[in-house]
Amino acid sequence: MRRIRELLKNYFRHFLFLVRVEGESGWPYLAPGKRYFASGFAAPRAGDWAVFENPRDRGRILIKRVKASAGGKYIMEGAVSWGSSSRDFGLVERRFVLGRVWI
């Protein structure tokens, strides 16, 4: 059973995964502690929420809204003015994006 679960997890790793949100800068769109479905197959578009690696600190996973995208690069913004955005960490390349988040 455990083996099957691991196989399923690997299979679904990019297709469908969960994102648990920590922190309240996405409020009221994202609730802290809540889990959301995300997919790596669906390229996020402007207005979508995306989960991605911070280009300045690859170990940190962030969740932000896509303000605009062009040429495989994304401009990310937070829901609140005091959250970080592409102004702080720059444009996010597609390879850093883990997936689009459904809220």
Partner: protein, 164 residues
């Protein structure tokens, strides 16, 4: 078994940060400096106060002396407490764990500054008060560096040095 629970169990999960990267409140070391400078001023004034001639025969002069002393002691006590509270707000709310990497001595600096607040309550000491002012300045310097505006430390100094 609830199918939703099963889906949540089998799917891989990542944790995404949605922290407020910029502190939500307004933080500033100036109130701590004002309180520390007030403590210093009270210590200097208490040291200047002279008791009436002994043995005291003038009751009115004795009362005036006691009142002047009590008021300055009360203000020193209150402002040392205020200074400690303002420092604790910066320490626990503004500074984050990642700042310790750049300033590994941060906890020690705050701890000593808070101890100096207590010392200034216990004693009437110009030296202890000046140490407290210096400790607040040291914290302010780190604070502005962490905020990415080190030049504001000079503005802070210019303003708070004129308080006296």
């Amino acid at each position: 078994m609830d199918i939703t629970k099963y889906i949540y169990k089998i799917l891989p999960e990542v944790v995404a940060e949605a922290h407020c990267d910029i502190p939500c409140g307004i933080y500033e070391p100036t109130p701590a400096k004002i309180a520390a400078v007030t403590v210093l001023r009270m210590a200097l004034q208490i040291n200047e106060l002279r008791p009436p001639q002994m043995p005291p025969t003038d009751v009115a002069a004795m009362k005036t002396m006691a009142n002047s002393m009590a008021r300055r002691i009360a203000v020193k006590e209150q402002h040392a407490e205020m200074c400690k509270r303002e420092l604790l707000i910066l320490w626990t709310d503004f500074f984050k764990a990642e700042h310790l990497e750049k300033y590994p001595q941060l906890h020690d600096i705050f701890w000593k500054a808070a101890k100096l607040c207590s010392k200034n309550k216990q004693e009437v000491s110009e030296e202890a008060a000046r140490e407290l002012v210096a400790a607040v300045d040291e914290i302010a310097k780190i604070f502005y560096e962490v905020k990415g505006v080190p030049e504001r430390y000079e503005a802070y100094q210019r303003i708070t040095e004129k308080l006296f």
